[in-house]
């Protein structure tokens, strides 16, 4: 039992963080710039190949990197393309041959609609759209834009095209849910840090508002929610990487807790920033919107807890 990451795993995440800090400023997120130079920088880093599982890297190696992607609020279908699509493509030889190599090089974007209640992210700029009907995978084409709360995660419905193969959809959905949970961990942590910093500086009644217990206790609750969701996410990553029988159960436990931790963080962040947090001028809303957009993207907390209950035979 060693519940911790290796130096290499941490170093990889730190490198990704640096690149994102340099090339994914809030300005870029605000513009909703999709792909573009950022994808080039991430491709140079080898990020697409790494998340796709090159060099034998697993979900466990990916999870800290995905946290960093969340923290940066990077726009575009990065999670779908780099982390979810490879497993789907690998299960369908014709697709694998055509798409896996350019995908690992960061040259293409993939948009996915794998759950019945899912919208495809950035389908209009994707090189490949896939839609699942049950466990059968079809090519898809963008049908209609469905403008959503997050301008950097643009949502579309897809028209169902020819079927291309079978299988791997459920496993891909688990990867999507894990990746979302990991991203939300990063987002929630960032929201908490921003808010701690803000209430430490903002003065009212002659003192920093962060000195008031009403403020302190709310932020303590956010930290608790994040820190007790975190090990569930790491556990789910281990289970997926080992193809453990409990993988779906562990993923849903992680997703339910992390999504709600991020919602709590978002709600506290907005409230404790006061009116300035409600403006579009402050960057805060970029992360709030991402939380709201991701909440049910790969299953809501209610759906995931329902699955936990199903799997526990309740």
């Amino acid at each position: 039992m060693r519940f911790g990451f290796s130096t290499e795993q941490r170093a990889l995440a730190a490198t990704v963080r640096e690149v994102l800090a340099a090339h994914c400023p809030p300005k870029l997120v605000r513009a909703g710039t999709r792909r573009g130079e950022l994808w080039g920088h991430l491709a140079d880093l080898g990020l697409f190949g790494m998340l796709a599982g090159d060099l034998g890297l697993t979900e466990l190696d990916a999870v800290l990197v995905l946290e960093e992607l969340g923290r940066s609020a990077a726009p575009g279908p990065l999670l779908e393309t780099a982390f979810v699509a490879p497993g789907l493509l690998a299960a369908v030889p014709s697709l694998a041959e055509r798409w896996l190599a350019p995908l690992a090089a960061g040259k293409v974007a993939v948009s996915l609609c794998l759950r019945p209640d899912q919208y495809a992210v950035d389908a209009d700029i994707a090189d490949l759209c896939l839609i699942a009907v049950g466990d059968v995978l079809h090519l898809g084409t963008p049908l209609a834009a469905q403008p959503g709360v997050d301008g950097a995660r643009r949502l579309f419905t897809l028209a169902v095209g020819p079927s291309v193969g079978c299988g791997a959809v459920a496993a891909a959905c688990d990867r999507g849910a894990l990746g979302t949970a990991a991203q939300l961990l990063g987002i929630a942590t960032h929201l908490l840090e921003m808010t701690v910093s803000y209430v430490g500086g903002r003065r009212q009644f002659g003192r920093p508002v962060g000195q008031f217990q009403a403020v302190q206790h709310r932020l303590a609750d956010v930290l608790m929610a994040i820190e007790f969701a975190r090990p569930l996410v790491y556990r789910a990553a281990v289970s997926l990487s080992r193809r453990a029988g409990s993988a779906s159960l562990d993923v849903s436990a992680a997703a339910a807790s992390t999504i709600e931790a991020a919602e709590l963080a978002a709600r506290a962040a907005l409230q404790l920033h006061g009116a300035v947090g409600y403006t579009a001028e402050l960057d805060l809303h970029l992360w709030l919107r991402r939380v709201w957009s991701l909440r049910a993207a790969w299953g809501s907390p209610e759906w995931h807890r329902g699955r936990v209950a199903d799997l526990l035979l309740l």
Binding site: M1, V196, Q213, A220, G306, L314
Partner: protein, 386 residues
């Protein structure tokens, strides 16, 4: 990251499971807050001790078996999964013992630990006073220098197990002029049958005398029963409070067992409106388990638990309340029945457990204080002006 256990750890777990399976009393013991129940629980502690399971993580010389932190956590999981009795020795073996091992003299360790391990001495805490609860450093009980030792005066209260315990440990003011007031406190070990000690049991919510007031009227304590240096009591006591809030008092095993029993209760009394709460309870118990393994890794690696212990305490105490609330809701009107009621489910244990759980957010430092600690020491928010 490796979430598997070694062969030795698994073997230890199996051995403990087998022993508990045979030896855990088939009928639950009476409440340890009654005289008869206290005696039964003391006997159970001796049974554990004779089999080498009373204090598995302690060094062998004091009655333990030198188990690792991970092995101890596994033992706890097995202990509660087997439905074994509450630990009447817990204040001693989980809270005082780590402090004795860190600050005690070799003579003190040899004198106190073996008797604690076999429950010849059951210990009570003596921290709170009528005017010093959350604000512990406001305590007024004091000690005056006496021949070869000290004389203790004052009143302690809310002292769990004190109605029947043999010894108490707590803080007394030995230097009334010291500034700040955290200085000038000294950590004393006192036999509760010493001349000048009066114990007045206090009935708790459940009607049983689970805690007591302790009055000290010139009680002589020799220098050999001071733990740590005179005047250094606050620092020594903080070691205990971190044990209390953190790992040792409330290991995940207890909550995992409660969550499993809650799943079972839902299957017997299904209520779709509560399915989400039951699943949440199970998830949260898993979270606490995994969080604890992560913490254990840091502690084994030489890290200190520190203020993170407050985060622990908030989580387990509130989880315990939530789980029992959910159970009582599943039971509907029967949730309000005590074990004395013919129609009580599971002998009223969910109600008993609920009342017990409600104390969690209060003892070991109220959760309001814990949230202050988390905000100020983990998040770095500014301390309030006092």
């Amino acid at each position: 990251m490796d979430l598997t256990f070694t062969d030795a750890e698994e073997a230890f777990r199996c051995e403990a499971r087998a022993w508990l399976g045979v030896n855990v009393p088939a009928t639950p013991l009476a409440s340890l807050d009654t005289p008869g129940g206290f005696a039964q629980h003391r006997d159970w502690e001796r049974c554990l001790y004779d089999a080498g399971y009373a204090v598995v993580s302690w060094p062998r010389e004091y009655g333990g078996r030198g188990a690792s932190l991970i092995e101890w956590l596994l033992f706890e999981e097995e202990y509660y999964a087997a439905g074994a009795p509450a630990r009447v020795s817990q204040n001693g073996i989980f809270l005082l013992a780590p402090t004795l091992l860190e600050y005690g003299t070799p003579e003190q360790r040899a004198r106190f630990l073996p008797r604690m391990a076999c429950a010849d001495d059951v210990w009570a805490q003596a921290w709170s006073e009528p005017e010093a609860g959350s604000d512990l450093a406001a305590l007024r009980s004091h000690a005056l220098r006496d021949d070869g030792g000290w004389r203790l005066y004052g009143q302690k209260t809310w002292s769990s197990r004190a109605a029947f315990a043999d010894w108490a440990f707590g803080l007394f003011r030995t230097d009334p002029l010291a500034k700040p007031r955290h200085r000038g406190l000294t950590y004393f070990l006192v036999p509760l049958d010493a001349p000048g000690v009066t114990v007045r049991p206090i009935p708790q919510l459940d009607g049983e005398p689970g805690f007591a007031e302790i009055f000290f009227d010139g009680v002589h304590v020799p220098d050999g029963d001071v733990l740590g240096a005179p005047g250094d009591g606050w620092r020594v006591a903080m070691a205990t409070t971190n044990s209390e809030r953190g790992l040792t008092l409330r290991s995940p095993g207890r909550f995992l067992a409660t969550a499993d029993r809650l799943l079972d209760l839902y299957r017997r009394f299904p209520a779709p409106a509560l399915r989400d709460s039951v699943a949440r309870a199970w998830v949260d118990a898993q979270a606490y388990r995994l969080y604890t393994f992560a913490t254990a890794g840091r502690v084994v690696g030489g890290g200190a638990l520190g203020a993170a212990a407050s985060l622990n305490k908030l989580f387990w105490s509130e989880l315990d309340v939530r789980m029992h609330e959910t159970a009582l809701r599943l039971l509907g009107a029967r949730g309000a029945l005590t074990g004395a009621a013919p129609e009580a489910v599971d002998a009223g244990r969910w109600l008993d457990g609920y009342l017990f759980a409600l104390a969690g957010p209060i003892y070991a430092g109220t959760n309001e204080i814990q949230r202050n600690v988390v905000a100020q020491r983990l998040l770095g928010l500014p301390r309030e002006r006092r």
